[in-house]
Structure formats: structure tokens, C-alpha cells
Point group: C2
Chain length 434, copies 2
């Protein structure tokens, strides 16, 4: 019989507690699947006395994750502390310095220090596994790093933030305003008291940088991500989208273009009849476009203790069966610098909603500004608002054919300067799906 694989688990929040419980309950099955017993040997957390619903008596206890990583008698270090710096970073470094494989769910740590840590792991001839860092229980890391190794990726994109998707789904179904929906999401625990990290698109951006590196073999570059959150999406936009055959999702997209790689997080309109558009609530989904496959889609739970623990377990069992894949799919010295494509050069269709004073000549003026910027229109319609028959303000919705971000911005600026608008113009990018 093989000797047990001894884990050191730092961080006993929801995911850490799930992990320890599952290893206790399903040990026999995991041993059958990995060829050797898996055992927790040491744990670290802040408060030893806290009731987590699991018995920690058999494990060596550390107050300090860094000390656990540096000194505990373990074969694998599992980092579930969280945060890009401090104990998370120092404990991972300590474990790698000992040559221990590291399993982590920490997207922020990887987005900020991924390449440096990958280099350290390679020097110490060990690995960092991080399936749980992106899209929870969806095996997108394994898919990009292993299953698609024969492919050249042209785009990876998806719904990576459950809070935003939950809110957009409820806004659509119940015709709620953004503000009402946010309050409700906070009440139900789907949004934080300070929701900026989620609804501002920053959480999705962290995850995107990791997918970009895996998909394109490039170094991580968080600073270069174009980020726009869902704060300005209105019930009116969602309704107009539905009438036009679209749904609005917060998408994170990394895409190879002629001028470099676009990394962007923003609300996007996608065809309502697509599989991605059916991904509702807190569910996540990731699609990958490649040369050999066309497009594949993975959807599943993006968060939660058990779903995240499932991903951590998959990494632990991979380590147990001897998997030794470089952190970002290629040796870290083989990662190419990230070459940024400017957002102004982004090409695509656009939805533009203008609130105009209802007077003669407005349509003609708007159409002229579009033409001046070489934007051709698929449609231009004036929406009648129910119960506002005598309204002096009317929304005008434009759908453009493919054009550039720069042209759209210039046209909207010009229209604003013309003085026809009675409200802020709104623009939402249309993402073509395969």
C-alpha cells in the first residue's frame, strides 16, 4: 500500500471546512481514485475555538499559515487563506521554497504574483494548481491547460461573476431597477456590503487574467484589463435588449487581435437564443474558441464551499497521481510578455441608447454623426414608453454594424455636443458568439 499523501490546509473558512469534511467522509473513494490515501496532517486558521462542524483534533494546529507551510510535515500545501499579499503570499512562497506542491483557490494572489510564483515553483521543480481560482466547480483551468493543449485559442470568454449574473437575471425577470436589485442581493447574501469588487467587474478581471495567461501563453497583466461594471445597466436597457433578441451579461473576454490581446470586462449583449444566454443566476460559464474545435462551452456553479472544494480536491488528487504540468501550461520562462490591444481599436457591433428631446431633425442629426464616423447602422428605432404617450423625451435605440470603439465614442461625443440629448447616452457592446 502507498503511503498517505499528507495535506497542510491553511484557512478553514467555508471551502477549507468543506475540504476537511469531505476528505474525512469520502476517504475510501478518493484513495481508490488516486491510488493512495489522502490525509489532512496539519491545519492553520485564526481562531482555534471556532465551531466549524468538523473535528480538528487529529491535525497538527498552527496559528500562522506561514509557519505551517514552512515547518509542518506535509506533502502538499493547500492555501485557502485569501488575499493577494500577506499570509497567503508568504505561506505559498514558503511551501514552494521547500519544493512542496501548492494547491490554491486564490485568484488575487495569482493575478498579482502568478508569474513570479510560477518561476519559483519551476526552480524548485514543483507545481502550483489552482482549478478553484476561476469559475469554482467548472474545470476550465484543466480544460485550457490540458484538454486544449493541441489547440490554438483565439478567444476565451464567459460569465465569471455570480453576483453580477444573479443581479442581471433578477433585473430581467422581475423588471427591477439596479438599485432595488442590489439591495435585495445584499439582503440575501449574494452581494457584499461593499459590492464594488463584484459589480464593478474587478473580481471577473482577476479571473480573466489567469485565463488569458493559460489561453495565450502570456504573462499575467492585471493593469491592462479594460473594466466596466454593471452599475449603469438599467431595466430599460434589459427590456430593449430582449425586444432586439439579446440578453445582457457581464462578460470577461480575452481575445487575440492583430494588434495584440484584448482583455476586457464589460456588460455585453449576446443572442438570446444562445446557450450562454441561458446561464442564469449565480451560475458561471466559460467558452473557448479555437482553431480545431470552433467553440466549446462549460457551465456550472462558480462559487460556494462545496463547488470550490470540488476543484481543490481535483487538484489534490492530481498531485496524488503525479501530475506535473507547469503552472500556466508552459515553462514560466516560455511565457511571452503580454501584448495589449488598445480598447479604442476594439471591433464589434454596438447598442446605443440616446434619450433625446422629441423634436424635428433629431433623427437626421444622429444619423449624420454616425455617418461622419463611418458607422453603418443595422437599425435605429424610437421606443415608445408605456404610459408616456405625451412624453417630450424619447429613447432612441441604435444598433450598429461592426465598427470600432473609437468611432462609437467619437460619434456619441459629437451627438452630445449637438445638444439633442436630455439624458446620459448609454452604450453596450454586442459580443458575437460562434
Amino acid at each position: 500500500m502507498s503511503s498517505p499523501l499528507k495535506l497542510g490546509v491553511a484557512g478553514l473558512g467555508t471551502v477549507g471546512a468543506s475540504l476537511v469534511r469531505l476528505l474525512g467522509e469520502n476517504g475510501e473513494a478518493y484513495e481508490r481514485r488516486s491510488g493512495r490515501p489522502i490525509a489532512v496532517a496539519a491545519v492553520a486558521a485564526r481562531d482555534r475555538a471556532k465551531d466549524r462542524g468538523i473535528d480538528l483534533g487529529a491535525f497538527q494546529w498552527f496559528d500562522d499559515p506561514v509557519e505551517l507551510a514552512a515547518k509542518a510535515e506535509i506533502d502538499v500545501f493547500v492555501e485557502l487563506v485569501g488575499g493577494a499579499e500577506g499570509a497567503a503570499l508568504e505561506s505559498v512562497k514558503a511551501a514552494l521554497n521547500r519544493g512542496l506542491p501548492v494547491v490554491t483557490a486564490n485568484k488575487a494572489l495569482l493575478a498579482h504574483h502568478g508569474v513570479a510564483l510560477a518561476k519559483l515553483a519551476a526552480r524548485k521543480n514543483t507545481v502550483i494548481a489552482f482549478e478553484a481560482a476561476v469559475a469554482g466547480g467548472i474545470p476550465i483551468i484543466k480544460t485550457l491547460r490540458e484538454a486544449l493543449r493541441g489547440n490554438m485559442v483565439s478567444r476565451v470568454y464567459g460569465i465569471l461573476n455570480g453576483t453580477c449574473n444573479y443581479m442581471l437575471t433578477r433585473m430581467e425577470r422581475e423588471k427591477l431597477s439596479f438599485e432595488a436589485c442590489l439591495a435585495e442581493a445584499q439582503r440575501l447574501g449574494y452581494a457584499e456590503a461593499d459590492p464594488t469588487f463584484d459589480i464593478g467587474g474587478f473580481d471577473a478581471a482577476h479571473k480573466l487574467t489567469i485565463l488569458t495567461s493559460l489561453a495565450f501563453g502570456s504573462e499575467i497583466d492585471l493593469e491592462s484589463v479594460f473594466i466596466e461594471g454593471i452599475e449603469r445597466i438599467s431595466a430599460e436597457d434589459i427590456e430593449a435588449a430582449a425586444e432586439l433578441g439579446f440578453r445582457i451579461k457581464l462578460l470577461a473576454v480575452a481575445q487575440r487581435t492583430e494588434s495584440g490581446i484584448e482583455q476586457r470586462v464589460h456588460p455585453a449583449m449576446i443572442p438570446a437564443s444562445s446557450a450562454l444566454a441561458q446561464v442564469d443566476g449565480v451560475t458561471n460559464a466559460v467558452a473557448v474558441d479555437t482553431d480545431l474545435l470552433g467553440s466549446i462551452l462549460l457551465a456550472g456553479p462558480g462559487a460556494g464551499g462545496n463547488a470550490t472544494a470540488s476543484a481543490v480536491l481535483s487538484d489534490v488528487l492530481d498531485v496524488a497521481t503525479g501530475a506535473r504540468i507547469p503552472t500556466f501550461g508552459v515553462a514560466p520562462t516560455g511565457l511571452v510578455p503580454y501584448r495589449r490591444a488598445r480598447m479604442r481599436a476594439h471591433e464589434g457591433g454596438y447598442y446605443i441608447r440616446l434619450t433625446v428631446h422629441d423634436r424635428v431633425g433629431v433623427f437626421a442629426s444622429v444619423a449624420r454623426r454616425m455617418a461622419e464616423n463611418a458607422i453603418s447602422l443595422e437599425s435605429i428605432v424610437q421606443r415608445k414608453r408605456a404610459g408616456h404617450e405625451a412624453d417630450a423625451e424619447a429613447p432612441v435605440i441604435l444598433i450598429t454594424h461592426e465598427t470600432t470603439e473609437a468611432a462609437v465614442r467619437k460619434a456619441i461625443d459629437a451627438i452630445s455636443r449637438d445638444g439633442h440629448l436630455s439624458g446620459e447616452p448609454r452604450m453596450i457592446r454586442i459580443e458575437p458568439l460562434d
Copy 2:
């Protein structure tokens, strides 16, 4: 620098030729991703002179795949010959007997001989990889065998046959009859001259047995699969399904029940608003329900030279990086015998379409037969057929609440005997999705 991994490729059809071409074109990228060069060393096919658009000059040639597997100087044997017996089986055995890892796309071989071959591989301390055998470019084998190793699966199901899905999609979109659609699919090359293997559900059944074994750690049992093809699906059923909020797909389902594991392939109604229902044309999709994840869905191309080659390449690169996972996820001696759940005990909702003589008392009689078999009805509606106002025959559509297959069959038999039917009764199972 590492020594190259030398491949022997038996079978140079669409997939084999794609594989050889891709290894030539992308060798540098694959080396970066696997840490060592990958090189074709030997090939086997029937006709050496045939133009496959690739240069075979540098490779050792074999007329006989078995001889290649037994004698060529290679590190990995790639079996793309096809067929459950003969050269495919003998060559795989020969390679395993030498301790060589085998990569295969051959679902029939695994469905018939998978367990015996897994045992041989384990004895020889080597592996069989077969990502390409099920759902082409979708990494469902890797997902079940590796990514979900921490989970207990309760159901795995999906759209595994592109021909059937293509036909059902066109029947729905263009309101075609089954016969017209089949003729069209044959003309376009989406269906074989003898389409029985696809439209009869047998291809999906082969693939399902492999997923069952991976999902439940059980031995493969092809004989036990309940199989019903799409031959009897009519445009009328598809239209009625749409009106009721469903779409019809040929599903392959393996499900743990109290009495054992159901393995079934049959047309099924699924909610039209689900992501799975949007999987159209030749696209495949697989969903997995587990204890930790709830449900995840993978969708992508299920066939084609490049998509299948992508899966083969993923296996080859896994072998190159040293992956050593048992064939069906656990040591073959650890596979449990397949315990069959009887189809008559299947529980679910049913769609039943009866063509009845339009006379007094028919509704009451049908309703009584249902009640006698303890079947409660969600709805019972008589459909008016356009242009058949004066029709003496009218279709009656019943949707049942959850009941058993045995009860439904008994009820339909009784209704048939009552003499009210003027046409064959039709029944389609409703598959609940998570």
C-alpha cells in the same frame, strides 16, 4: 533537451491525417506545452499510395496495424483503425503487451472490450487514453476521470450523436418530416447510407457505456442499455413539444437509482429554456449531476477530423507529461459489477400523444385508464390540426406527473385495447434538468 516522444499512428483516415498534419505544423507549440518534442515515427494504413495531403515519407510504413503495434520503435500507440474487433483490438493488445501507452478514439472497442483492456493495461503498468471516443472535442473523459474525482455522480446525460441532433434541429426549424430530413441529411453527408447505427441510438449507447463506467466506477455493460432511436419522432410531436415549452433531443442518460444504474438512450423532452435545449445541429453536450456541484454542462463539436484530433492530441500530450490515470478512473480490479436498474421501474414524467376517433366519451375513457394506473395528469389537451376542422381524428396530448414506465405502458396498452385509437400511440419521456 528531452528525447522526443515517438508515436505510432495506425489508421490514416480523417482523424489520423489531421493528427499527423497538426504534429508537423505545430510541433514547436506542443513541445513547449509538454516539455518534450512529439514526433510521428511510424504509420499504418491500408493504401500507401492514397493522397492524404500529408507527406508520409519520413515515417516507417506498415501495412498491418498489429505489426506496427508489435514491432515499431515507438513510445505511444495511437489506434485510429476503428471497429470493435480485428485489427483495432489486436493492435491495441499488442501495444499494451509491450507496455506501451495506447491512445484511441474507438468507442466500440471500449464498449465491447474496455474492462479486459483496462486490466491488461494495469498488468503491464501502462494506460489507455480515449478522450476522442466520446463527444469528440468536448473534454468529458478528462472531466469525469480527473476534474470530478472529488464528487459522487448521480447522473450523467447528454446529446452524444450529432446526426440525430442535426436531424431533430432541422425537423424543428423547417417543419420537415423524419423521412424528408433523413434524405436531406444523407445527401449532405451528415447521415450514412445505412443510418441505423446513428438514428437507432446505438452510437450514443456505445458512448454512454463509457461515461457510465467513469461516472460510477462500474464495469461496462453494453447489453443492458435501453435503446430507442428517433425514427418515430414526427413533426407533430416536435410542434406539440414546442407549444408545451419543451424541445425534443436524443438523450443518453446514466443515472443512479435505488435499484441500480439506469442506462438509457431515447428521445426526451427537455425545457426549451434550458442551456441543453439550445445545443443545436451536430454539436454535442454532456451534463453531470454531482453531490458537490449540482450540475455542470459541457458543449462543443462532437465529431470531425480536427475536433477528434484535438482530443487525441490532448491524450498524447498527457502521456508526454507523464499522466498515469487508470483507464476508467480506478484500478480495473476496483470496478464494481454493473447493477442494472430495470427500465420498467424508471420514474419520470411522460408526454403521450394519442390519435383518437373524435367521439363522445373518449376523454373520459382515457382519463379513467390513467387513474387506474395511478398516473396523475398535469394536462390533457385536444389539439386542433390546422386545415383539419372537420377531421374525425384528433390528437390528444397528455402530460403526466412523475410516474413509472410500467404504469405508462400498462395505461397505453389498456387505451389501445379500448378501441378508441385510430393511430399508433406515441410516448416520449420528459427528462428533468437541474
